[in-house]
């Protein structure tokens, strides 16, 4: 695809990719910025090979995820990214951003207790700002099914908030 069209591509997705990276590096702002820059530089280099018939968001998500896996392998060897992808964990800096209020902290703890795929869906939809249509490519499910799954996931979070000591 012609690199002249990269402008709108960048402006549309920069915030979403930043948040995607941000929540997977424990809320470390400086690291999130570096990794986001790397993702977009890679995307720009590969843009003329991008097939416009494919989903833009899916293509960019793949680049971002692969870059995160490589970075994670260097920083935290022995820990699989997939294990923690559905878990919201926070560095010291991240906790300042994630949970400024007590009930937000409880909410994030509850989110960590639900199944990882549900947590990943809630995280990507409500924290990172993806639409259900975009998430079809990520979860390989129809947007309607994802909406239902999201509602059920939120109900599980609600359940954990009411009964914080339940398994």
């Amino acid at each position: 695809m012609d690199k002249r069209y990269f402008t709108s591509f960048y402006e549309t997705y920069v915030e979403r990719i930043y948040k995607f990276v941000f929540y997977r590096v424990g809320g470390n702002k400086a690291l999130a910025q570096d990794l986001t820059q790397d993702v977009f530089l890679k995307a720009f280099e590969a843009f003329d090979r991008y097939d416009p018939t494919l989903s833009q968001v899916s293509w960019l998500y793949t680049i971002a995820r692969n870059h995160l896996i490589n970075d994670h392998a260097k920083r935290r060897p022995g820990v699989d990214l997939e294990e923690i992808e559905g878990t919201l964990w926070a560095s010291e800096d991240g906790r300042k951003v994630f949970a400024q209020q007590h009930d937000e902290q409880k909410l994030l703890e509850a989110l960590n207790k639900i199944p990882s795929e549900d947590a990943k869906l809630i995280q990507m939809k409500y924290l990172e700002g993806w639409s259900f249509d975009d998430l079809e490519e990520v979860f390989h499910k129809k947007s309607g099914a994802l909406r239902v799954q999201a509602i059920r996931a939120l109900k599980k979070v609600k359940q954990h908030l009411r009964h914080p000591y339940s398994l």
């Binding site: 402008t7 949970a99 990172e128 939120l154 609600k158």
Partner: protein
């Protein structure tokens, strides 16, 4: 905690993770150094113009709709906030009229309308109606005075026998009388009671009707004088 509250809390957390504007700009510059080019300024300008055109057309439609309502609606009276808009439109209408005769017609139309407003206002708010009467008297006085400026076009010597001098003199005499009546009314109206104001309005109505007829008669004189001239000019050229 119901579901919408959970979504609201998640949204609040999400907003705090928004990237800094400076970072986005800096990354854009880095990409530009690598050869990333912004789409043409023209597209940006088109997008702005599109938005501006949409906003302007909405505002224009609102203004035209409001202006039409203010001008046409009989419910818009001097105590209405839209009355200023109506007055402005009337002034523009008067200025736009090209000939003195057209201006007179418009002035009379406005005068009739102001009188109707006055009557409606008197029903609702007697004190305000009385205050507005002065404006109405002034308008009527100006209309009558300006009728003096209506000119009969100059005639060829050969056409002078067609001019109805008597009719013109009579019309002008009526105009002078109207002015005298108005001068008296203008002095007296501040002392009037409610019943006297009603009588005063009736007098004003009659005055407007007579002024209307006088203007028509003067215009008729012009028309009658012009038509024979026109026919004669056509005959001369043949």
């Amino acid at each position: 905690m119901i579901l919408w509250n959970i979504k609201r809390r998640l949204s609040s957390i999400s907003r705090r993770a928004t990237p800094d504007r400076d970072f986005i700009i800096a990354l854009g510059k880095t990409l530009k150094d690598k050869g990333y080019v912004r789409t043409s300024r023209f597209q940006g300008v088109m997008f702005s113009w599109k938005r501006a055109a949409t906003v302007l057309s909405l505002l224009g439609g609102l203004l035209v709709g409001t202006g039409t309502y203010a001008y046409v609606s009989p419910e818009v009276l001097p105590d209405s906030p839209l009355y200023g808009l109506r007055s402005t439109i009337e002034k523009v209408e008067f200025k736009v009229a090209r000939t003195p005769a057209a201006k007179e017609k418009i002035q009379l139309k406005h005068l009739r309308r102001h009188l109707q407003e006055q009557q409606k206002l008197a029903d609702r708010n007697y004190a305000l109606a009385l205050a507005h009467t002065e404006v109405l008297v002034r308008d009527l006085s100006e209309t009558v005075k300006s009728m003096d400026r209506l000119e009969i076009p100059s005639q060829d010597e050969a056409d002078e026998e067609n001019m109805k001098a008597e009719e013109e003199a009579e019309a002008r005499a009526m105009v002078a009388m109207d002015q005298e009546v108005l001068a008296e009314l203008a002095n007296d109206h501040k002392e009037l009671t409610e019943d006297e104001v009603k009588i005063f309005h009736r007098v004003l109505r009659d005055q407007v009707k007579r002024t209307d007829e006088h203007v028509e008669s003067l215009q008729e004189l012009r028309r009658r004088d012009q038509q024979p001239n026109l026919i004669k000019r056509i005959l001369r050229t043949q």
